[in-house]
Subunit: 251 residues, 2 copies
């Protein structure tokens, strides 16, 4: 058993879903309402078997140490586990302003993969676009811009994406499907708009699209504990090198 | 070149779609408006290079010889190419009264695979159910029956299907998704209702469903000519043995 004094823990959308009872796995009560956090050993507050903790380099900013599992690891796995991407390939995503979305932009860029990004319209859209481009986004479009449906022009010199990510649903998911190239795959990992995903028959038959889902909790449950530690160290290393940074960019 | 006098050729839904211009591959005009048929050599009417024809056993009923490629081969490939099914496993499909659907029921049964079948409501539903059960269907439900949503009860002693087929779209596709077990795959190969497929976010994330498409024309284009002849002979053999039979069962 290891005693840890918690220093910081984020509230992720999944924490809210779990508290609302929208999660298929319901914890036994009383339960802790969060999935991740960071603390100091020899504090007095949280006691768990040692294997539940992961030791981190003391030079790591606390806010990153506290949030490195749920979102950055999701971004990393989703870029690796569905399509074999090569430098010069492209991905497309909605919800690009989310923490997962920002991690996808940066992790893709490190691998030489282009990213096409869809964001919501807001008074700050132009500012948000600049922020995402500074992180390495190749293209950023608001949903309204995409109503023009000129998906080929929007891609310009970037190849049609083989992989897309959807954390919004509804019309925003449709834009991701529209950007995907022949035989592409869309991975749904969230549903912020609470709207379902709607797909035309021809997208399946003629465009040969595949639609799948990702759930980190399932991935973590599949005997990945050791691999996972290596990945967290890798991600925290990128944070310390300034190659992975995130903040909630929108209002 | 081989001269063949055509004896019979079916009108498949894809022929109609192609004539309506709803197919992504548009033939050069003037064009023949159909994909398959049967004829006798040394007639005078259709001249094509010999490789375009497939010689069949003279004991084969003409109506099966004329229709063996588009629908039965689609059923065969879809049962083989997506999920590794074992005897005792189950599949679920809508549009079970279609020729493809009837072939799926029978080809599944030959492999010891259970089939759950969804049909449209009509005055003849009970008769149609009996016909499908005689072909080997384990369960047949009308869309209205399924409004009760007791999918576990509807399955009774049959395992949750790992594979589903959708040729209708809309609500009927949703019933196929509801029957599928954790990690299941739905293959869309038609859209008779002209409605898209709508999928909840949780189906992807928590139920881990995959959605794909099948298009025989693409499969045939992928260097499968020789394999294809073996499969057609296999299917026509089943016809001659009385193990594969089909007719348009509804009104
Ligand atoms: N499946 C998994 O294993 C897994 C793992 C981690 C995260 N997730 C999911 O990933 C998603 C993002 O998580 P996060 O922590 O990175 O999110 P976050 O930083 O809190 O960002 C939320 C995102 O959702 C957008 N958004 C919020 N409400 C919306 C609405 N009604 N319509 C359209 N867009 C809306 C926001 O856009 P604005 O910037 O325009 O407000 C922003 O892009 C969540 O759905 C979360 O549950 C899933
Ligand atoms: N992707 C491919 O490579 C491929 C290959 C072969 C066939 N197909 C497709 O497979 C489907 C079936 O072909 P088939 O020749 O076997 O068909 P079929 O024998 O002509 O049967 C048509 C089926 O569609 C149902 N249906 C018709 N209109 C409908 C509507 N508005 N709402 C709901 N159901 C409706 C019929 O139900 P009732 O019996 O209740 O009238 C029947 O089950 C077609 O969509 C066809 O294009 C695709």
């Amino acid at each position: 058993m290891t005693c840890v004094k918690m220093l910081a823990a984020p509230i992720n959308p999944s924490d809210i879903n779990r508290i609302q009872g929208n999660y298929p796995v319901k914890p036994q009560l009383p339960a802790v309402g969060g999935y991740e956090g960071v603390g100091e050993e020899h504090g007095r507050y949280v006691v768990k078997e040692q294997s539940a903790w992961h030791k981190i380099n003391s030079g790591t900013p606390v806010e990153y140490a506290a949030t490195i599992t749920v979102n950055p690891l999701t971004a990393l796995r989703m870029l690796e586990d569905f399509v074999d991407l090569k430098p010069g390939d492209a991905i497309v995503q909605n919800g690009a302003t989310s923490i997962v979305g920002q991690c996808i932009v940066q992790l893709a860029r490190i691998r030489g993969i282009h990213s096409i990004n869809v964001i919501r319209d807001s008074a700050l859209s132009d500012e948000v676009k600049e922020k995402l481009k500074r992180l390495g986004a190749d293209k950023v479009y608001t949903e309204t811009q995409l109503e023009l449906k000129k998906f080929k022009e929007f891609l310009a010199n970037i190849p049609a994406p083989a992989l897309g990510f959807n954390c919004i649903g509804g019309h925003s998911a449709t834009t991701v499907l529209a950007f995907l190239g022949q035989g592409g795959t869309m991975v749904t990992y969230g549903g912020m708009s609470k709207l379902p995903v709607t797909v035309s028959t021809s997208s399946f038959i003629f465009k040969d699209l595949s639609l799948k889902g990702f759930w980190l909790q399932k991935w973590l449950g599949s005997n990945k504990a050791e691999e996972c530690r290596v990945m967290l160290d890798h991600l925290l290393g990128l944070v310390r090198e300034g190659k992975l940074t995130y903040e909630y960019v929108s209002l």
